[in-house]
Amino acid sequence: MSKKDKQEVQETPQQRAMTELAMNRWADWKQRYLPMQKRLISQITELGKPGSAVRESASGRAATDTTMQFAKAQGAVQNALTNTGAQVGSSKFNLGVAKLGEDQAKSRGLGMAMSDQLVDDAYVQGLSSIAALGKGERAQASDSLGRMASISGRQAASDAEIAANERAGNAALIGQFAGYGLQRAMSPTAPMQPTGSVPGGFNIDGRQFNNPSAWTPPG
């Protein structure tokens, strides 16, 4: 036996069997799981695009939730106003009803913006889960989509309730000041809480703004 033959390591039957097993498992993954993963990747990529069907649907749902919740609030505000003696056609009643529309628009707009953010959450979590799958880690893809379905409804209900309470109160206040000029009375009496990127916001005429462009001169 030459020196070269002595150094050669023969593959054992176990090594060859393990190779067959690994190859079969890999072929199975490629045939059964890989197409599913590719389909999921394609769905998530589609979901993240601007104006995707999921975005439109989430946005529509947010708008519908707001409309439904504010429809209830509208009735409550009208009842509250008439119970306090404000008749239909009075300034107190008219402006109370009109102002509730503003709150609804705000809730609806922010609800739609938030639904977009939740779709972005789902998109990034989906991509992260697939990237983790690539590293052999566990997927958590559906969590965000589930949350997305319930949040807009809860937010709209909360906004509607707050707006109804606020408008019943504001409308009463407007009635008190009607003789002194409606426009002054419509100004908020409590300082607004700035939520913008400017810490502390801007204080103009005793009112608080987070953006100077949002300020309208009085008069």
């Binding site: 593959e11 090594q15 060859r16 067959e20 690994a22 190859m23 079969n24 890999w26 072929a27 199975d28 490629k30 045939q31 059964r32 890989l34 993963q37 990747i41 990529t45 993240g48 601007p50 946005s59 239909v88 056609g89 300034s91 009643f93 008219n94 402006l95 009803v97 009109a98 102002k99 529309g101 503003e102 709150d103 609804q104 628009a105 705000k106 609806r108 707009g109 922010l110 739609m112 913006a113 977009d116 953010q117 998109y123 990034v124 991509l127 992260s128 697939i130 990237a131 690539g134 409606l182 426009q183 419509m186 607004m192 913008g196 990127s197 987070n210 953006n211 462009s213 949002a214 309208t216």
Partner: protein, 145 residues
């Protein structure tokens, strides 16, 4: 083809495996592992790397934040436009016509609310998007600004 094992199973009885390597070769196991490793790397490059690139693009592109802000602004503007008409219909339904003073007050208040909601929505979109970007990049305590 129900369970996907047929490709390699069909080759169990044959002399060559799915990579075309002979089972009679003395280096069959080593060569097969080498071929499989190369194929797995190719699969990773084709399937998962594009996804990782999408994530990297999302996390590092400043345009993502700008787009989120303009989308939020557009949402608010759409909502106020729709609501303006809806409020008019509601008032008409109640038989209410606003006086000129009431109309002026209503329009001013409506414009102010719209501007504030617009700014609020843009700030919200910016903060959440920047946070999300930082999370993707691995920041354990992402900040919105």
């Amino acid at each position: 083809m129900a369970y996907g094992l047929n490709t390699s199973q069909a080759m169990l009885g044959s002399d060559v495996n799915m990579f075309g390597l002979s089972r009679n070769s003395k280096t069959y196991a080593g060569d097969t592992y080498a071929a499989m490793t190369r194929q797995q790397w190719t699969d990773y490059i084709n399937t998962f790397v594009p996804v990782e690139n999408q994530l990297i693009q999302y996390a590092s592109d400043p345009g993502v934040v700008t787009n989120a802000m303009s989308e939020a602004s557009s949402d608010v503007n759409k909502a106020f436009t729709a609501q303006g008409a809806s409020t008019e219909r509601r008032l008409k339904g109640l038989g209410i016509t606003l006086s000129p003073e009431e109309q002026a007050s209503q329009q001013r208040s409506f414009g102010l609310s719209k501007s504030l909601a617009d700014v609020q929505a843009q700030n919200l979109a910016k903060e959440l998007t920047v946070r999300r970007q930082q999370s993707v990049l691995g920041n354990p305590a992402p900040q919105g600004t």
